[in-house]
């Protein structure tokens, strides 16, 4: 009599059991408690001080957003774990079959290699959700202190870290399938991650295409989610990269296929991925899920800007490392791009630091071109940029309203009980669960 359960479910169960007996996963779980605890406790303390605890400046906390003040640092523990711990769990699960010889048996089932790697990725993602429990429990703790939460920004943050974990899993799976030994896979995975950091560094120095590419690295993607910004192109590119990584892993898991053919297929996957990424860069939709609307201009300004139908071009004469350029980018241009997708920004500089260009004529100028009209300004603040654009477009600036201003949620409390939960209770729970579960699975 044949089993009624489809082979894929058997595979899922097998991968889940393998995860449960994997020491690396339990170490990841164990580490998450103190990691999250340290970040959360430190963030809540700082938040409390800024909110006026112990007589610190009252009123400073008015603009405080829990997303930036508490959740971004608390969830940064997940980013750290995704880079330094999760790859080992993923490599163990993918390379384990190869090492033990189970792959030679399982490949004879006839399931497609992509289905096989998909099962592993799903289980690893489920394992990651469990590892994120300390971060999620921090939300409950914050609520118990009387802290305010805003579901859309928390969901965005969680989704960002899930996507980041997906990228790590796909990368580690590809490397584990490519290399003969798990240690080689670990070195390759970490090297790749370091490579993305170098790309970020280059992007900050060189600007141009480097900067554009650096915007799609996992670290940059997580930073956007941490600010409550969901960009369709970033999400789609992350998904393409995840699928490509899993595709690579599927190609290299097929032991019975000639290496030359696997190389050709990998090249095909790379080409498809490159085409997919290129196509995704044209997606301009984005959503600001932060309660403070930190990634957007005030609503009246956005409405005013939408009235401008002539394409706007901005020429920025600032070097990549000039702090004014960074200010302009983060405070104004990134928000402007969201309202005016056709905006074209051109950066012009002779050097990367701009130190020796300060005396050059035209350095520091920001030129605005709208149809046949143009104007120049040196202001890099959001208000200054908006003022210049309104003046150029001949539009009256909207009346400022205090109602729409985000007032923040100051909370001057100490992180009571957090130490016990994250430093004692969670590790004890993990150790006890590991002992029980590993025994019962075996």
């Amino acid at each position: 009599m044949r089993s009624r359960r489809p082979p894929f479910l058997w595979l899922l169960e097998k991968e889940w059991r393998e995860l449960l007996v994997s020491k690396s996963w339990w170490v990841l779980l164990l580490g998450m408690g103190p990691l999250v605890g340290m970040s959360f406790i430190s963030a809540v303390r700082t938040y409390a001080e800024v909110s006026g605890l112990n007589g610190t400046a009252a009123g400073v906390g008015e603009a405080l957003s829990p997303l930036i003040g508490v959740w971004a640092p608390t969830f940064s523990a997940c980013e750290l774990a995704a880079v330094f711990l999760l790859p080992f769990v993923a490599i163990r699960l993918v390379a384990g079959d190869h090492q033990s010889g189970a792959l030679k048996l399982e490949l004879q089932q006839g399931l497609s290699p992509f289905t096989r790697i998909w099962a592993k990725a799903l289980i690893l993602l489920a394992g990651w959700v469990v590892a994120m429990l300390p971060s999620l429990s921090a939300i409950l703790l914050w609520r118990s202190y009387g802290g305010s939460t805003y579901a859309p920004e928390l969901l965005t943050l969680t989704a960002g870290h899930l996507l980041n974990a997906g990228l790590t899993i796909a990368l580690a799976a590809a490397m584990a399938a490519l290399s003969e030994h798990p240690s080689t896979a670990a070195i390759l995975t970490l090297s790749f991650t370091v490579g993305t950091w170098i790309l970020n560094f280059f992007g900050a120095i060189q600007g141009g295409w480097w900067e554009r590419a650096a915007g799609y690295t996992p670290a940059a993607m997580v930073a956007e989610f941490q600010h409550g910004l969901v960009r369709l192109d970033t999400v789609l590119i992350a998904l393409v990269l995840i699928l490509s990584g899993l595709g690579f892993a599927a190609v290299w898991m097929r032991l019975g296929v000639a290496v030359s053919r696997r190389v050709y297929e990998s090249a095909g996957v790379s080409l498809l991925a490159a085409a997919g990424i290129l196509a995704c860069t044209f997606a301009t939709a984005s959503w600001d899920t932060s309660e403070s609307r930190g990634n957007s201009f005030p609503e009246p300004d956005e409405q005013a800007l939408r009235q401008i139908h002539t394409p706007l071009r901005i020429e920025v004469h600032l070097a990549p490392e000039d702090p004014r350029r960074s200010d302009l980018d983060h405070r104004a241009l990134s928000k402007l791009r969201r309202v005016m997708p056709q905006l074209k920004v051109q950066y012009i500089s002779a050097t990367s630091t701009g130190l020796f260009e300060q005396t050059s004529a035209g350095y520091g100028e920001i030129w605005y071109f709208l149809g046949s009209r143009k104007t120049m300004s040196r202001v890099t603040t959001a208000e200054g940029v908006l003022e210049t654009i309104y003046s150029l477009a001949g539009i009256a600036p909207p009346v400022e309203s205090d109602d729409a201003v985000f007032r923040g949620h100051p909370l001057a409390v100490a992180p009571k009980g957090a130490g016990v939960i994250f430093y004692a209770l969670w590790p004890a729970l993990v150790v006890a669960a590991a002992a029980v579960v590993r025994k019962s699975v075996k």
């Binding site: 009599m1 097998k14 048996l105 399982e106 089932q109 699975v441 075996k442």
Partner: protein, 238 residues
Amino acid sequence: MLFEVTGLSKRFGAIAALRDVSFRVREGEVLGLIGPNGAGKSTLFECLGGALPSDSGVIRAGGRTVGARERPSLLFYVPDSIAPWPTQTARWALDFTIGFFHGQSQLRDEVVEQLDLRPLLNQPIGTLSKGQRKRVLLGIGLLTRQPALLIDEPFEGLDLRQRRDIAAALRAHAARGRTLFLSIHQINDAARFCDRFVLLSSGRVCGEGTVEELAGLAAARDQTTPLQDLEEVFLALT
């Protein structure tokens, strides 16, 4: 005939592991692949089982070529020296085989008895000795459904009594019509157990047939009287 292998070759860089290997596998027979260490027996099985790509050669069954995707419906290969799912118990491995590979659940208890697996059922595979692990691997193979079962070194790591018991178990399954293709480097073991033989030496097939047929082949080649012993036949042909 269940299937036929034609012109199978495999190189590892400058080394030719298999050279134009061709032979036939008959339905319900116990076919022994014999040859010294390094003859290419495991490589041949890995290629047939889809664990290693071959450079050339085809498998034909029922008059048509069996592609890599159709192979899992024709044969199942049990490699030597592997410890699959080391943290899982032998009991789980057998159940997984039945579920994942659509194995024969009605044979489960019988296989457990035949291979004396009951004392091992609750032990993780990674903690088993070489011989115990071999018995579990044989159990996995016997529970699968494919018409042909390829086992690399089925008696490796087993003591005399276990060899005898396992030979009887394999025979019982062959008697039901399952085709067994076994790679055995101990020629005496093969001689006692197999119906026919494929002799492999330095990656080439030196002969194929029953002991008598191979002896006749050796006698015809050397123009001597036919030998009776498989070992001597093997030495004469290789």
